[in-house]
């Protein structure tokens, strides 16, 4: 019975059916499946297949986003249960597009994918000055921040934000992810940040960074 629920849950995630994902999650919990099992054996397993099929070119981005939305909806029910049973969320990430830049499609994509992978995402929008990043880091219990930029000029705000984080002694304690059209791995390395080339890679990177912090 338990495995039936979990397989159906994986399928609902894979097909991006968020109503079904919510319904099955609720049913599973009602029939005594542990929250931890729903998360690991249902939702995350479903998302892993989505990730693998996206990488191999079988699934397209909108399908991945639908799956992520289904995952997020199911997590809404699961979160209080997980907290009660002492299971910690995968991690919490602040995302923002840096000061002077209002291009946010890339950041939003990363946000959706992270949420879909079980992360808690605090999206502080676009045109975000370094002070706002710092303030949010200090307010929340944060291990990782992600900065996005679309322009070669605003990209420099990433460096400035890291500089300000150092002044407040938040860096390198808090890990920094960067991305965006003009950003390169070399640039990221120069400013002491971690680079990913797309939203799927960003999720893998965030997981790695969270585990480094633990």
């Amino acid at each position: 019975m338990e495995s039936d629920h979990l397989i159906a849950l994986q399928e609902s995630i894979y097909s991006g059916d968020f109503e079904k994902a919510v319904e099955i999650t609720q049913n599973a919990l009602d029939t005594g499946v542990t929250a931890k099992s729903v998360l690991n054996d249902g939702l995350i397993k479903g998302m892993e297949k989505v990730g693998a099929d996206f990488k191999s070119g079988e699934l397209f981005l909108p399908e991945v986003l639908l799956a992520a939305r289904a995952m997020k909806a199911a997590m809404g029910i699961l979160k209080p249960q997980l907290a009660n049973s002492g299971v910690e969320p995968i991690g919490k990430v602040i995302l923002g597009t840096v000061a002077g830049d209002i291009h946010d499609i890339g950041k939003n994509l990363v946000g959706m994918m992270l949420e879909g992978s079980g992360f808690e995402v605090i999206d502080i929008g676009c045109d975000v000055p370094p002070e706002k990043f710092i303030e949010t880091i200090q307010k929340e219990d944060i291990q990782v921040i992600g900065m996005s930029a679309m322009l070669t000029t605003t990209m420099m705000m990433m460096k400035e934000t890291i500089q300000k984080m150092k002044e407040k002694d938040l860096y390198p304690k808090v890990k920094v992810m960067v991305g965006g059209a003009p950003v390169t791995p070399e640039f990221a390395q120069d400013i002491g940040a971690f680079y990913s080339s797309d939203a799927a890679e960003a999720v893998d990177l965030a997981k790695k960074l969270i585990s480094l912090g633990k």
């Binding site: 070119g57 994509l109 000029t153 059209a181």
Partner: protein, 479 residues
């Protein structure tokens, strides 16, 4: 000029895009991220959605403003021979500008652009035959706050061609205008023969950021041509259908053109739809796909048939990271399609990887491509003389026409002579080192950079530029 321009949409379809544009402007509107501009829109008769900065623009206001648009205007230059009339049915090449990274000519590695690269890039454009408009690569060595101004100064020094540049720091705008006035000699000269064109972009979906508004205002005041460049990504920031993203970019551009024409009727503006397409398999925004090329071509139709404006399109354009076959393929269809549709400016020579990277060798290849494309657009004459009835009749006797008077009269005309392509026996090509086109292009770059010098700048202008740069450094470096 070819007799029939390429049309990929029917006249009815073009009108449908325009009419839907009017509807979106009226019912959905544009988010104008500039408080003064919102009030100005209201004074002109547009409605503001209560409690927001969304401006709803009635169709009659749009149509009224569009009657003020100029279909052609002079683009000035530091040297008179480089001036041209935009909108005169010719194609003008504009190299790709914007990136901060170049492919090193010797190592072929990607690296940050230096001050020397910025000067060399402008000097290289200055030396080319088919690239009439110079756009910058941004060096990554100077103070970021005044980089755009330093770049403009660098271009003024290194080319006497018309310049195309955008702001990196919105605060630089007044200094841009000062520098343009200085080089033009006076306010009036600048208006008559603006030595530079600027570019600014709406942000999709349907936003006009403050820097766009400020640039429209300043360009209108000083008579500087402005490209309104809209780049929705079909499937991400614009509808996934090509028609839908064509509509989205059209709304964003028409909104900006209307604002410019209402403020300064007749201000020179250039329609610049550069729609990107999301690759749903990877999430990358493509710029060189077949779909991109179709959109570019349809955009020319809209600009010419409905708005009667000069139009600037991407092309040559490619997603290829190096100067390879992919670059050759994409650059070719991406130039030829808009050219045959009637584009005025082709932008992108020297760009690789969707405009993120500059390759000097690609620039000289693309310059030659624009020459070829220009030649295609010219078409060929068909009349009694060119049909050559006599030559045909005489050929049965002589067996060939190599020295026939008709041949002698016409053989030099209408033949485009490319310099980089190989047109020789394999043995000759081998004797010359079996070089690929990219290798030959590299050699041409080195030769031009070693030998070409632009028209020197007057000392008084150099002094004035230095003063403006000093003032800007003081004003912009803090904070």
């Amino acid at each position: 000029m070819i007799e029939q321009k390429l049309k990929i949409l029917s006249n009815e379809q073009v009108v449908q895009v325009h009419e839907t544009t009017l509807r979106v402007l009226q019912e959905v509107g544009i988010e104008v991220m500039h408080e003064d501009a919102c009030r100005i829109w209201e004074d002109f008769g547009a409605k503001r959605k209560e409690g927001t900065s969304r401006i709803l623009i009635p169709p009659d206001l749009v149509e009224k403003a569009l009657t003020k648009v100029k279909s052609s205007f002079i683009c000035g230059a530091r040297e008179e021979k480089n001036e041209f009339l935009l909108g005169d049915e010719k194609i003008y090449g504009r190299n790709g500008g914007g990136p901060g990274q170049v492919i090193d000519l010797d190592s072929s590695e990607l690296r940050n652009a230096t001050k020397k690269d910025a000067a060399d890039y402008a000097r290289l454009v200055d030396a080319l035959d088919y690239t009439q408009i110079a756009a910058p690569v941004y060096e990554q060595e100077s103070n970021a706050k005044t980089r755009d101004l330093n770049t403009l100064a660098c271009m003024i020094r290194n080319t006497s061609k018309h310049i195309n540049i955008r702001l990196l720091n919105p605060g630089s705008l007044p200094f841009f205008m000062q520098m343009a006035q200085l080089v033009a000699g006076s306010d009036e000269n600048l208006k008559q023969k603006p030595i530079l064109t600027m570019l600014e972009s709406p942000v999709s979906p349907l936003k006009h950021p403050a820097v766009l508004i400020d640039t429209i205002m300043a360009c209108g005041k000083f008579g500087i041509p402005l490209e309104i460049c809209s780049m929705p990504i079909a499937g991400a920031t614009g509808p996934v259908t090509l028609a839908g993203s064509l509509l989205m970019s059209n709304v964003e551009m028409v909104g900006a053109v209307v604002f410019g024409q209402l403020l300064n009727p007749g201000m020179p503006m250039i329609f610049t739809p550069r729609i990107m397409v999301m690759d749903m398999a990877s999430g990358y925004a493509l710029t060189g796909s077949a779909e991109n090329a179709l959109l570019v071509t349809a955009g020319v139709q809209l600009a010419k048939d409905i708005y009667h404006m000069p139009v600037n399109m991407h092309g040559p354009y490619t997603d290829a990271p190096i100067s390879d076959c992919q670059a050759g393929i994409e650059n070719t269809y991406f130039s030829l399609l808009p050219a045959l549709a009637g584009v005025d400016i082709l932008t992108g020579a020297g760009h690789l990887q969707g405009g993120l990277v500059i390759n000097f060798a690609q620039l000289v290849i693309d310059d030659e491509l624009i020459g070829m494309v220009n030649r295609c657009r010219e078409g060929f004459r068909v009349d009694e003389e060119t049909l050559g009835f006599e030559a045909v009749a005489d050929s049965i006797e002589s067996g060939n026409l190599l020295t026939h008077p008709h041949t002698l009269k016409h053989f030099r005309a209408n033949r485009f002579r490319p310099r980089l392509v190989t047109r020789t026996a394999r043995s000759n090509w081998q004797a010359e080192g079996s070089k690929t086109m990219a290798e030959r292009a590299k050699e041409k770059v080195k030769d031009l950079l070693a030998n070409h010098q632009p028209l020197p700048l007057d000392e008084s202008i150099e002094k004035g530029i230095q003063e403006i740069l000093n003032d800007a450094e003081m004003a912009l470096s803090e904070g």
